[in-house]
C-alpha cells in the first residue's frame, strides 16, 4: 500500500474533486466533509511517504502505469519535496476546516459544490507540481493549479473577476514561458524526466539553446511565484479573492513556485552550473534584494491589512531568492526552511485577517482599534504571526532568517545580509503599527471610545478558532524544533554539490 502513497497524493484529491462536484449537486452537505476527508487522506499519504524517505534514507520512486522513465511519468518523493508535501497537506487541511464558515458567508449556496471541487483541484495541482519528477507533467499540474486559482479568485468581491482576468493574462504568459523552456530542453535532449535530464544536460552545458531554455523556465517560474518584478498580478488578485480562497492560495501557491525554482536550479541543472558556470543564482539574489526592499516599502504604504500581507508574500519570496543567491549550504537551508515556515506564517496571518474581516467587519489597519477585547485569540494570532515574520526568536521565522544571514555572510555578500536585516526592520515597523492599533485604545480620548464601543465582533465558530490556534502553535513549534528539522531533513534535502 505504502508504495502507492506518492501517486495517491495526487489521485485522491483529483478524483474527489469530481465526486464532490457530482454529489454536491444533489446533496450540498456532503461537500465539506468529503473535502476534509480527502485532504486528511492526503496528509496521511504525504506524511507516510516522507516517513519512508526518512527511515530508508532514499527517495521513493513511482512509475505511473508501470512505464519506466524516461518514457513514462515518474513521481519522486525525496527529502526536499517530502517536507514540502507534508507542509502543503497540513496547511491545506487546516485551511479547508477554517474556510467552512467563511464559505457560508462569502459564497452563494448554489456555488458551494463547484467551490469545493475547485478547492480540491487547486490542492491537486499544488501536490502534483511538488511530487512530479517530470518537467512536462509539472507544466500540466501547474496549469491545473493556476486555472482553478483563476476561477476561485473570480468568486471574490468587487473587481475580483477583473483581477482574476489580469492574473490569468500574467499566469498564461508565465506558463507559456515555462512551456517554451521545457521545449528547448526537450529539443536539446529528447527527455523530460528530471533525473534523466540532469545526466544528459552535462555535456551540453555551454549550448546557447540550453541557456535560452533556462531563461524561459526561470521567467515562467518567477511569474508563478510572484517574484519581483513580475509580481504585479499578486496584490490585486489575492486581496480581492474571498477570504476562504486566499487562506489556501496565499500561503501555498507562491511557495510551491519557489520549490520548483529550487528544483530546477539545483537538481535538473547541476548546482555547479547554476552557481558557478553561469552566475544564475547571483543574479536571482540581486533581483531578490531589490524585491525585498521594494515590496517592504510598498507594504508599508498599504492601509488595507490584506493587501499589506500580499506585498509581504512578495517580500518573503525575495528572502527565498536571497538564500538561493548565496548559493551555499546555509543559504539554501535558509531558503528551504523559509519556504516551509512561510506557508505556516502566511497561513496564520491570512486566517487572522479573514476572521477579522468576517467578524470585525473591517480590513483597514486603522479600523482595528479594540480588536484585542472583541477578538482576543485572533489578535494574539496576529501577534504570533507578525513576530515570526519580523524574526523574533523562538518563532520559526527567526531561524530561517538566521540561516539566510549565515549564508549571505559565508558568501561574503554583504548587501544580501544587509537587505535581510533591513527587511526585518521594515517588517517590524509594519507589524508594530498594527499591534498598536489592536491593543492600544487611547482610553483618554472619549471620541475614540465611543466609536470603538460601536464595533462588536460576532462570535467566532470553533471551526475557525481551532485551525488558527493550531497554526499559531505550529509556528512556535517549527521554531523550537528547527534544529531537528534542519538536521534530519533539510540537511539531506540540499542537493549534493552545493
Amino acid at each position: 500500500m505504502t508504495v502507492h502513497f506518492s501517486v495517491l497524493i495526487v489521485v485522491v484529491p483529483l478524483l474527489s474533486s469530481f465526486l464532490v462536484f457530482a454529489f454536491g449537486l444533489f446533496q450540498r452537505r456532503v461537500c465539506f466533509p468529503a473535502t476534509v476527508a480527502a485532504l486528511a487522506a492526503c496528509l496521511v499519504f504525504s506524511a507516510g511517504s516522507f516517513r519512508t524517505v526518512l527511515t530508508t534514507g532514499r527517495p521513493v520512486h513511482y512509475h505511473l502505469g508501470g512505464w519506466a522513465p524516461p518514457w513514462g511519468i515518474e513521481y519522486v518523493v525525496d527529502y526536499l519535496n517530502g517536507l514540502v508535501l507534508t507542509a502543503i497537506a497540513i496547511v491545506s487541511l487546516l485551511a479547508a476546516i477554517y474556510a467552512r464558515t467563511l464559505v457560508a458567508r462569502e459564497i452563494p449556496a448554489a456555488k458551494h459544490p463547484p467551490f469545493y471541487a475547485l478547492f480540491l483541484l487547486q490542492v491537486t495541482g499544488l501536490f502534483g507540481m511538488t511530487v512530479t519528477g517530470d518537467m512536462f507533467n509539472l507544466y500540466v499540474l501547474l496549469e491545473i493549479a493556476s486555472f482553478s486559482a483563476y476561477a476561485l479568485i473570480g468568486m471574490g468581491e468587487g473587481a475580483a473577476p477583473f483581477a482574476a482576468f489580469r492574473y490569468m493574462i500574467f499566469g498564461t504568459l508565465g506558463a507559456c514561458s515555462y512551456l517554451l523552456g521545457v521545449g528547448y530542453l526537450y529539443i536539446s535532449t529528447g527527455s523530460l524526466n528530471m533525473a534523466d535530464l540532469r545526466q544528459i544536460l552535462v555535456p551540453i552545458y555551454f549550448s546557447q539553446a540550453l541557456m535560452v531554455g533556462l531563461a524561459f523556465l526561470l521567467l515562467g517560474i518567477a511569474v508563478k511565484m510572484a517574484f519581483f518584478p513580475v509580481h504585479l498580478w499578486l496584490p490585486d488578485s489575492y486581496t480581492l479573492a474571498p477570504s476562504c480562497v486566499s487562506v489556501l492560495l496565499a500561503p501555498l501557491f507562491t511557495k510551491v513556485g519557489a520549490y520548483v525554482m529550487i528544483r530546477v536550479l539545483f537538481t535538473v541543472f547541476d548546482p555547479s552550473f547554476s552557481i558557478t558556470l553561469l552566475p544564475v543564482t547571483t543574479v536571482i539574489g540581486w533581483v531578490a534584494v531589490a524585491g525585498i526592499l521594494f515590496s517592504s516599502i510598498m507594504a508599508l504604504a498599504q492601509g488595507d491589512l490584506k493587501r499589506m500581507l500580499c506585498y509581504l508574500i512578495v517580500t518573503e519570496g525575495g528572502y527565498i531568492g536571497v538564500g538561493i543567491g548565496a548559493g551555499n549550504r546555509p543559504g539554501l537551508t535558509g531558503s528551504i526552511f523559509h519556504l516551509l515556515n512561510d506557508m505556516f506564517m502566511m497561513g496564520l496571518l491570512f486566517m487572522a485577517v479573514g476572521a477579522i474581516q468576517a467578524h470585525f467587519r473591517t480590513r483597514t489597519i486603522s479600523g482595528l482599534t479594540g480588536l484585542h477585547r472583541s477578538m482576543p485569540v485572533t489578535a494574539a494570532a496576529l501577534v504570533v504571526g507578525g513576530l515570526s515574520v519580523i524574526g523574533v526568536p523562538p518563532l520559526c521565522g527567526f531561524f530561517s532568517k538566521w540561516y539566510l544571514i549565515l549564508g549571505a555572510i559565508e558568501a561574503r555578500q554583504w548587501f544580501f545580509a544587509g537587505a535581510l536585516l533591513l527587511g526585518s526592520l521594515l517588517n517590524a515597523v509594519l507589524f508594530f503599527r498594527i499591534f498598536e492599533r489592536c491593543y492600544f485604545e487611547a482610553p483618554h480620548d472619549p471620541a475614540h471610545r465611543k466609536r470603538e464601543a460601536g464595533v462588536k465582533a460576532d462570535r467566532m465558530a470553533m471551526g475557525e478558532l481551532i485551525p488558527m490556534a493550531l497554526m499559531a502553535v505550529l509556528v512556535i513549534l517549527l521554531g523550537l524544533f528547527s534544529g531537528y528539522i534542519v538536521q534530519h531533513a533539510i540537511a539531506h534535502a540540499i542537493p549534493p554539490g552545493v
Binding site: P394, W402, I409, A428
Partner: protein, 495 residues
C-alpha cells in the same frame, strides 16, 4: 560542567507566571497578583538554590534544544550570569509588591497586560543572565525587548505611544546589528559558546574582528543607552514608575550592559581586545558618555528624567570599568552592576512614591517633602549617597574598585573620569535632598506626616536597607563579592 534542570526552571517560573496571569485576568485581581508573587518568589528560590553550587565552582548547564552543528539553545550558569540572575530575580519580588501598591493606588487600566508583560520581561532578563551562548542570549534579549514595548506604551497617550515607538526603533535596530555580529562570529569560529577570556581571538583578520566588535557594542550598547544611542531611555520615562524600575534596575538596560560585558569578557576577552587595540577606543567613547550624561542630568527638572540620565552615566561607568581590562576594574564593574541596581531601584521607587502621594514630578516642587514623607526621602538619601559613592552605602565599594582598577591600568585620565562623575553625581543629587529636608514646604506647610501606602513604602525601605547592608556585608546573602571574585579569577587566571 554539571547538567541540571535548575536554570531552565528559573526561566520557566516567570513564563508560567505570565500564562497564569493571563488565565486569571482582571476579574480575579487578587488571584492574579498572587500568581505574580508566587512566580517571582519561585524564580528567586530557583536562582538561590543554584548559588551554593556555583560558589563551589560548578558550572550548571541545561541544553534545551539542539539547533545545528555546534549550536544549541543552552542555558549555562557561571558566576557572572549568577550576579545578574540574582539581581533581577530578587528585585522582581520587590517591584512586584511595589507595583501592586502603585497600580492599585492609581487605579491604572489594563493591569492584566501589565503583569503579563512584566513577567515575560523577567523571563527574558533571567534568560539573558543564564544563557550559555550568543544565540540563546539573543533569543531572550529579543523577548525582553518585545515584552517591554507594551509596558512603555502603558498609558496609551500619544506621548507614551511615541516614546514606545522610539524605544522599539532604537532597540530593534540595535538587535538587527547584533544579529549580524552574531552570524558573522558564527561564520568565523563555528561556535557561539561563551568562554571566560574569549573565543574569537585569531579566527579572522584584525579588521573584520574590529568591525564585528563595533557591531556588537553598537547593538547591545543601544540597550545599555551608550551615547549617542541613549535617546529612547529618557523618553521612556512616561511609563508608570514600576516600569521605569524595570527598565533601569531590574532588566532592560541592565541586560544591555550585561550583554556588553559578555561580549567584552567572554566573546572577545581581555587578551584579544588588547591585541586589537580596541579597549582605548571603547573606554574613550564610554568616558564621554559618563561625563556628558551627568551634565545633562544637571539640567533636568523632571525627577525621573534626571534619574534616567544618572542611569546612563552609571551604565557607562560599568562598561568603562570592564573596558579597562584590569583585575580590579573588572571586579568593580561586576560589583557596580548589582549595586547600581539596588540603589537606582530605591531612587525610582521613591520618585513613584512621591507621585502617588503628592502627584509631584518636578525637582523644583520638592521643597519640604522630606518632612511629609520621611521614610521615602530617607531612602532617597541613601540611594543618592550610594550613587555618589559615599560610605556606608554599597556604591562606595564598587567605585573604590573601579578607581583602583584605573590606577592599576596606570590611566590617570580614566581615574579622573570616575572621580569627576562622582562629583557631578553629588551636584545633582544633593540639592534634592537639601531642599526636601531643609527648605520650607510651599503649599500647606506643616501638614504633618503622610506617607505612601505600605505596599509602596515597604519595598523602597527594604532596598535602601539592603544598600546599607551590602556595604557592611558585600558578601551577605547574595554573595556578590565571591561571585565577582570567581568571575575575575576565571577571566584573568587565579591570583
Amino acid at each position: 560542567m554539571t547538567h541540571s534542570p535548575l536554570p531552565l526552571i528559573a526561566v520557566l517560573f516567570p513564563l508560567l507566571g505570565a500564562v497564569l496571569v493571563l488565565a486569571t485576568g482582571a476579574r480575579r485581581a487578587n488571584l492574579r497578583e498572587l500568581c505574580t508573587m508566587l512566580a517571582s518568589a519561585g524564580q528567586f528560590a530557583a536562582v538561590l538554590s543554584m548559588l551554593p553550587r556555583v560558589i563551589r565552582g560548578q558550572t550548571l548547564t541545561c541544553t534545551m534544544l539542539p539547533l545545528g552543528p555546534g549550536l544549541a539553545l543552552e542555558l549555562r550558569v557561571d558566576p557572572f550570569g549568577m550576579i545578574f540572575a540574582l539581581l533581577s530575580s530578587f528585585l522582581w519580588i520587590v517591584v512586584s509588591v511595589y507595583s501592586i501598591g502603585y497600580m492599585r493606588s492609581l487605579q491604572e487600566h489594563a493591569q492584566t497586560r501589565f503583569y503579563f508583560c512584566f513577567a515575560m520581561a523577567l523571563a527574558g532578563a533571567s534568560g539573558v543572565a543564564l544563557s550559555g551562548n550568543l544565540i540563546t542570549l539573543y533569543m531572550f534579549y529579543e523577548i525582553l525587548t518585545v515584552a517591554t514595548f507594551p509596558l512603555v506604551a502603558h498609558k496609551e497617550t500619544p506621548e507614551a505611544i511615541r516614546a514606545a515607538r522610539k524605544y522599539l526603533v532604537y532597540l530593534l535596530g540595535g538587535a538587527v546589528v547584533v544579529l549580524f555580529a552574531i552570524a558573522a562570529t558564527y561564520c568565523l569560529t563555528g561556535s557561539l559558546d561563551f568562554v571566560a577570556g574569549g573565543f574569537v581571538g585569531g579566527s579572522g583578520s584584525a579588521d573584520l574582528l574590529r568591525v564585528i566588535f563595533a557591531a556588537f557594542i553598537i547593538g547591545f550598547g543601544t540597550k545599555a543607552a551608550i551615547m549617542p544611542l541613549h535617546e529612547w531611555l529618557p523618553s521612556a520615562m512616561v511609563a508608570p514608575t514600576p516600569v521605569s524600575a524595570l527598565l533601569h534596575a531590574v532588566a532592560v538596560v541592565k541586560a544591555g550592559v550585561f550583554c556588553c560585558l559578555r561580549v567584552i569578557l567572554y566573546v572577545y576577552g581581555p587578551g584579544t581586545l588588547a591585541d586589537l587595540a580596541l579597549w582605548t577606543t571603547l573606554a574613550g567613547v564610554v568616558s564621554c558618555t559618563v561625563i556628558v550624561a551627568n551634565l545633562f542630568a544637571l539640567t533636568q527638572d523632571n525627577l525621573k528624567r534626571r534619574l534616567a540620565f544618572s542611569t546612563i552615566n552609571n551604565l557607562a561607568v560599568i562598561i568603562l570599568g570592564a573596558s579597562l581590562l584590569t583585575h580590579e576594574s573588572v571586579r568593580g564593574a561586576l560589583l557596580h552592576l548589582p549595586f547600581h541596581g539596588f540603589m537606582k531601584i530605591t531612587l525610582f521607587m521613591c520618585a513613584g512614591s512621591i507621585f502617588v502621594v503628592a502627584k509631584k514630578e518636578l525637582v523644583s516642587e520638592l521643597d519640604g517633602i522630606g518632612r511629609r514623607m520621611p521614610v521615602t526621602m530617607a531612602a532617597f538619601t541613601v540611594g543618592a549617597a550610594g550613587l555618589v559613592g559615599i560610605p556606608p552605602v554599597c556604591g562606595f565599594l564598587s567605585k573604590w574598585y573601579l578607581c583602583l582598577g584605573a590606577l592599576e591600568a596606570g590611566e590617570i585620565l580614566f581615574l579622573s573620569v570616575f572621580l569627576a562623575s562622582a562629583l557631578l553625581d553629588a551636584a545633582y543629587f544633593f540639592p534634592i535632598v537639601f531642599s526636601a529636608f531643609f527648605k520650607p514646604e510651599q503649599e500647606n506647610p506643616g501638614a504633618g506626616v503622610k506617607e505612601a501606602p505600605v505596599a509602596v513604602a515597604a519595598p523602597l525601605a527594604v532596598t535602601a536597607l539592603l544598600c546599607l547592608s551590602l556595604f557592611m556585608y558585600p558578601d551577605g546573602m547574595f554573595r556578590f563579592y565571591t561571585l565577582g571574585d570567581l568571575a575575575v579569577k576565571s577571566l584573568f587566571g587565579g591570583r
